[in-house]
């Protein structure tokens, strides 16, 4: 590697101040993001807290057996995770794009700001609050059912109904985060050259044609970028949100990989197996990101980073 004829060492000397300035940040990153990775070693050990990480006995790949042996609880968690991921990619991911387009078409700046603020607000509530609100409203003893009961209309079980669980969690994510996620798209929309719309209007393009030929192509690289990043988290489907609602519907309907790791590792004390599952999950996520990125490059997009 050459850079303006300078050797690697010369460049280090030239940029030494800048490099020094990055040291605290790098140190922070190493200490809190990379060093803890070493803890993953317990995936290969029979870890017992009182013995400590170093002194716990090695067990080779025994902890990974649960992943390949088809343990029903693990498979159940995997299936639920994949279903929720699918729902999130198909429903939750496109929602903010549509919402951003709608917002963008509002003419009154004032109204737009007001609507935006209202849509952003739920993002700042923690999941504990959101889950509590949903329970207060839709619970079997909540507002909706109390109303129905008072008017002899029969009750509907929503938060305690295993069959409605996927719909419930998807709905909650939409309500909480769709508004917030519009920010990026609105920023991208505002950067579209307005002369393009004017020119197309002169050529007689309808709103739909403008959307299809100008707006969406302008958003394309952003959409691809976010989709790739989303894929990296494909197996992460909202731990807090789900763990808070598990008891009401039971593990069969609600166990996902993250809660499986928590329930088995932290609660049941099976640290090794949980670390193994977590590790595999991380590796799969990394592979998905890299794979999707390569695919994006093939289609001529920038992806997460340039080649």
């Amino acid at each position: 590697m050459r850079w303006a004829g300078l050797s690697w060492w010369d460049r280090v000397r030239r940029d030494r101040i800048l490099l020094l300035a990055t040291l605290p940040g790098v140190g922070l990153l190493l200490t809190f993001h990379y060093l803890p990775w070493l803890g993953n070693v317990i995936a290969f050990k029979d870890y017992q807290p009182y013995v400590g990480i170093l002194d716990s006995p090695w067990t080779g790949l025994a902890n990974f057996r649960i992943i390949v042996s088809g343990d029903p609880a693990f498979l159940n968690a995997l299936t639920n995770t994949l279903v929720i991921t699918l729902l999130q990619v198909l429903i939750v991911f496109p929602a903010p794009i549509a919402l951003a387009l709608l917002l963008d078409s509002l003419m009154s700046e004032r109204l737009k700001r007001a609507v935006q603020s209202i849509l952003y607000l739920p993002h700042f509530l923690s999941w504990v609050i959101v889950v509590a609100i949903f329970m207060q409203l839709l619970g079997d003893g909540g507002l909706l059912n109390t109303f129905l009961r008072d008017h002899d209309l029969g009750t509907v079980s929503i938060v305690n109904n295993p069959d409605a669980f996927f719909a419930l969690v998807t709905g909650q994510v939409l309500w909480k985060d769709a508004g917030w996620a519009t920010i990026l798209f609105l920023a991208a929309l505002s950067r579209i050259d307005s002369t393009l719309y004017e020119a197309s209007a002169v050529d007689g393009a309808t709103r739909w044609r403008q959307l299809w030929h100008i707006t969406l192509p302008a958003l394309r690289s952003l959409i691809v970028l976010l989709l790739i990043l989303r894929l990296g988290d494909a197996l992460t489907v909202g731990f807090e949100q789900i763990v808070l609602q598990q008891a009401a519907v039971g593990a069969d309907a609600s166990e996902v990989l993250d809660t499986y790791v928590y329930n088995n590792g932290i609660l049941a004390g099976d640290w090794g197996v949980s670390a193994a599952v977590g590790l595999v999950k991380g590796v799969v996520g990394l592979l998905l990101v890299l794979g999707a990125n390569r695919l994006a490059h093939r289609f001529g997009e920038q992806g997460v980073y340039q080649r």
Binding site: Y50, D140, G141, G142, A247, A248
Partner: protein, 553 residues
């Protein structure tokens, strides 16, 4: 199945896991160990039964209603006035005392901004260096502490997971033996009399501190009255419901009578599985039958209790949101949305403190009737401790210095020391009203240092400012204590149980919820039982049977 020769040498090993049970309701914790590891021979090698401290009751304070050695707690109708001054001068030597403690409250302000902490330092004559850990973070923080190997003077070993199930305590005995102080030379037999307030702690509580044939810590004692079915007597009265049904059928009828969904009122805050199990004579965890341990889950009574309780849920007499995580059951009970709740006896004062129903508010305890009628069924004895505290290995002088401070911390109810430790300074942290201390805002935030989990005075029954409630709580306990059944494995150690209790508890819990909420039929229990046994239930049975055979109790 361990039946190696090492068993012969194996002596009593006690304590660990039962302790973990204390916070959770008994029913949650049933369960057992796992088929994984083999026995605890290493941990047992050094065993020999520890001689427990000889009990010497403190006589400086006279309770209004007297308890007994069977486990009935003393009761106080009001805080003794003036409080007894039980010590003279600070017990400490001015040095540091570092401690790793837990708290169930928001972490209090640091010593610089905390007048209560400063006052404690002054009165104790030590510089308290506390690492205060919120309960849910305990397992992780404790693992870090052990891994770091830089131990403070006194350590509360993490024994609970965030949902109240026991955390893995496997190898705890080995860790104690390697890093912690055997206190038996200072506390066994009459030696404890040098520390009069420690000598005043009940013997059952000390049982949970025995490991490796020694005494490896100080107990935080709790009453064995444990969990009960609490009832809103004011609501029962106004609705004309029978407060003490005499069979399951009557109980069911009462529940139906109390429930009116349109008035937003349900009879029960939770599915009363444990209550129904008690009606049927089902044990808490284990029962000795012909020299063999039989698990509560293996009996016909358990299945019957599952099906009866599921029927109650189906009847619609249980609050419909009761299966949710962190269901606000206490709020429902206080607000009258639920007329009965399963809770520990320690919740009695809490309900009065948070009472929103006005002066009529009245709580009573319902005893479980025999399922088919004909008298009362027996309840279950609870763990006699909340937790215990280990000491880092130290020389004799240091250990004695620490014990002296801990002795002060165990000063009983009715003393000035107790009042200071729990409520702080009069006028600043609390105010007396109707004979009971009431925390001020400053008191609420500053006093929760977690030092009450280092060692505690024997528990008492005391509902501040509510003499009548205190009396009712005492009378309920007096009625159940004589027949309360002690689990044969309480205070005993099984390595597999200590490793797998969390996992087994989860298996049982999940399955119970599935059946009770009607998601699965009772017949699904067979499969669960099979899984429970192969995951470790059978192995735990064997280990506990050995422990019982070697026990000196």
């Amino acid at each position: 199945m361990t039946s190696s020769p090492s068993i012969g040498r194996r002596q009593l090993l006690t304590g660990a896991l039962g302790t973990a049970a204390a916070l959770a309701t008994p029913g949650l914790l049933a369960g057992c160990g796992d088929g994984g590891s083999t026995g605890n021979s290493d941990q047992n090698r050094a065993s020999g039964s520890a001689r427990l401290p000889n009990y010497l009751p403190y006589t400086g304070v006279r309770p209004d209603l007297r308890g007994n050695r069977q486990g009935l707690l003393d009761a106080f109708l009001k805080y003794p006035e003036p409080p007894v001054r039980a010590t003279d001068g600070p017990p400490g030597d001015g040095g540091e005392l570092s401690a790793f403690v837990l708290t169930n409250s928001p972490v209090p302000p640091a010593v610089g901004q905390n007048p209560f902490w400063q006052e404690m330092n002054r009165r104790l004559g030590v510089d308290l260096r506390l690492t205060i850990v919120p309960n849910p973070d305990m397992p992780a923080k404790f693992a870090t502490l052990v891994a770091g190997d830089d131990l403070p003077d006194v350590i509360v070993p993490a024994l609970f997971t965030p949902n109240g199930l026991p955390a893995g305590t496997a190898n705890l005995p080995a860790w104690l033996a390697a890093k912690c102080q055997d206190l038996s030379p200072y506390l066994s037999g009459d030696a404890v009399h040098e520390y009069p307030f420690l000598a005043n702690l009940p013997t059952d509580a000390w049982r949970d501190c025995r490991y490796n044939g020694g005494i490896y810590g100080l107990p935080v004692p709790r009453g064995i009255g444990g969990t009960l079915m609490m009832r809103r007597d004011d609501l029962f009265k106004s609705l004309g419901a029978d407060p003490q049904p005499e069979s399951f059928a009557e109980f069911r009828a009462v529940c139906r009578k109390l429930t009116d969904a349109r008035a937003n009122r349900w009879a029960l805050a939770q599915a009363p599985l444990d209550f129904v199990r008690q009606m049927l004579g089902n044990p808490w965890r284990w029962k000795m039958e012909g020299g063999r341990l039989v698990s509560a889950y293996e009996s016909e009574e358990f299945r019957q209790a599952l099906s009866d309780t599921a029927r109650l849920v189906k009847d619609g007499v249980v609050h419909p949101d009761s299966f949710s995580n962190n269901a606000p059951t206490k709020k429902w009970f206080n607000a009258g949305s639920a007329t009965m709740i399963t809770d520990r006896y320690t919740a009695w004062p809490q309900f009065y403190a948070e009472n929103i129903a006005g002066p009529d508010f009245d709580i009573g305890g319902m005893r479980p009737p025999r399922h088919e009628g004909g008298g009362f069924a027996a309840t279950w004895q609870a763990q006699a401790t909340n937790n215990f505290t280990a000491f880092k290995k130290a020389d004799e002088g240091r250990v004695r210095a620490l014990l002296k401070v801990c002795n002060w911390l165990a000063a009983p109810f009715g003393t000035e020391e107790w009042l200071l430790r729990r409520y702080g300074l009069a006028g600043v942290h609390y105010r007396m009203s109707d004979g009971g201390p009431e925390l001020t805002q400053a008191g609420v935030s500053q006093t929760v240092l977690g030092i009450r989990y280092i060692v505690d005075a024997p528990d008492v029954i005391f509902v501040p400012g509510e003499a009548e409630a205190t009396r009712k709580s005492y009378e309920y306990q007096a009625s159940i204590i004589p027949t309360a059944v002690k689990d044969p494995t309480l205070g005993l150690f099984s390595d597999t149980w200590s490793r797998r209790s969390g996992q087994l508890g989860t298996i049982v819990n999940d399955a119970q919820m599935d059946v009770l909420s009607g998601r699965k039929p009772v017949s699904a229990w067979d499969e669960v039982l099979k899984q429970w046994r192969s995951t470790g239930g059978d192995k735990v049975r064997t280990e506990f049977e050995e422990a019982i055979a070697n026990s000196s109790d």
